[in-house]
């Protein structure tokens, strides 16, 4: 008896981004607000980071709430129903449950059940990782349409009084729908990691350290409730970064990755309509523009001024703003590159929806 022939899903030739959505939470935090917590000034922050304000979510607004807001707009713009989604990917480092995923809850809320649902942890590269996966899932035939969301509530993991990263960060969500296309719409993704710099950006404590502290406090006769609360706040994991290492890596290594994404897509910098780098720092953006020798015709996303650094949400949020302010960019080519904690990076050229 001959072995049965396995059937594989029929592949599709091309994919593209069909729609985009954004959610910007309502609380605006100014540099003057930040300077109540750290010894700095509006001028110092603007000069070194380009940030003027950041949006932050109030208590009660979750990563999933923000993801839903962005996803609904993206679905409407793409003109598809949630029930057509084959997969829902949420990129986040601030969904406060190790399990279940934010994506599973989001899928249920949107009415996309039983779409495959999972979160990815790739920090500020998370959106580009998501687009890489969305592209692969659509073209491999594993899903007809994929919702890719970058959503972060970074305000839950900051320490207002520290100076390396907290004052840069904001909350928000951005989402896109990736689906089949008659023409190429997503260039080859250049993605990767450098775990030798695992400590360059990360949390102050692991969750098991928090548990051990709680246990030792509970077993101590001298610890009252207030002391326990205070100790827990001191050990609550918050973000830190080695700014010097990260800055150098970003301007030097990431310009090369961005160039590789252009080369892999078979285009020149002058073919681009837009450049949307991760919104980490205006000075990194400026330096990448110089290193890539982008002509002045390329519109550069600078949403960081208003939104701060929103990690996985920053590229879709910045793209959304760019398209609102420059609707003529729709259909043009955009180079997007995310990079962050891991360290990890991802870049691709996409046709703007």
């Amino acid at each position: 008896m001959s072995a049965p022939t396995l059937k594989q899903a029929p592949a599709k030739e091309f994919s593209r981004i069909l729609g985009i959505g954004a959610y910007r939470p309502e609380v605006i935090v100014t540099n003057d607000d930040v300077c109540q917590w750290i010894d700095s000034s509006d001028e110092w922050i603007r000069q070194r980071t380009g940030i003027v304000t950041r949006h932050r979510a109030p208590e009660g607004v979750s990563v999933i709430d923000m993801a839903e807001g962005a996803a609904r707009e993206a679905l409407a713009q793409a003109g598809i129903e949630a029930s057509q989604l084959g997969a829902v990917i949420v990129s986040t480092v601030t969904h406060p449950y190790a399990t279940p995923s934010a994506a599973a809850a989001l899928t249920d809320r949107l009415g996309a059940t039983p779409a495959a649902a999972f979160d990815i942890s790739a920090a500020c590269a998370g959106y580009c990782y998501g687009v890489a996966q969305g592209d692969a899932l659509v073209r491999s035939g594993a899903a007809d349409y994929v919702l890719v969301v970058g959503a972060e509530k970074l305000s839950d993991v900051i320490d207002n009084h520290e100076r390396t990263i907290s004052f840069l960060l904001g909350d928000g969500a951005g989402a896109v729908i990736v689906g089949p296309s008659d023409a190429p719409g997503i260039g080859q993704s250049i993605w990767g990691s450098d775990g030798s710099k695992w400590n360059a950006i990360g949390m102050t404590h692991s969750l098991d350290e928090v548990r051990k502290l709680g246990e030792s406090a509970r077993h101590s006769d001298e610890t009252d409730d207030l002391a326990l609360i205070s100790a827990t706040q001191d050990i609550w994991p918050t973000l830190r970064q080695d700014g010097q290492t990260v800055f150098r890596w970003a301007v030097w290594e990431m310009a090369k990755v961005a160039q590789q994404a252009l080369d892999a897509a078979g285009i020149e910098a002058s073919d681009l309509a837009a450049f949307v780098p991760h919104q980490a720092n205006m000075r990194i953006i400026d330096e990448m523009v110089k290193k890539l020798k982008l002509p002045e015709t390329v519109v550069v996303a600078r949403d960081i001024a208003e939104s701060g650094n929103t990690s996985a949400a920053s590229i879709p949020l910045a793209t959304h703003r760019l398209l609102q302010e420059n609707p003529q960019l729709s259909g043009g080519l955009s180079l997007q590159i995310g990079f962050g904690a891991g360290l990890v990076f991802g870049a691709q050229v996409v046709v703007l929806p």
Binding site: Q244, R248, W252
Partner: protein, 81 residues
């Protein structure tokens, strides 16, 4: 191998590109932070560009020791040797 004069001239060009300061203001005894008013982010940009231009590696922990333009020229000359 670049001479110290060539390194100074190359460094001045990089500083000019980053800050707009006239290249002839970049002298050996000038302090990056106090005399040239270069902040930490500009300093890292200058370091990255100097590494590229002179084919040397300037470790993060070394950057804080480069207080004057002369310190940087000497470090780069030593690293090239």
């Amino acid at each position: 191998m670049a001479s110290n004069e060539e390194i100074l001239a190359g460094l001045a060009e990089i500083v000019n590109e980053e800050t707009g300061l006239a290249a002839d203001a970049v002298e050996l005894d000038k302090s990056f932070t106090e005399d040239l008013d270069i902040d930490s982010i500009s300093m890292m940009t200058i370091v990255v560009n100097a590494e590229e231009k002179f084919g040397v590696r300037i470790p993060d922990e070394e950057v804080k020791n480069l207080k004057t333009v002369g310190d940087a020229v000497n470090f780069i000359a030593g690293a090239q040797a």
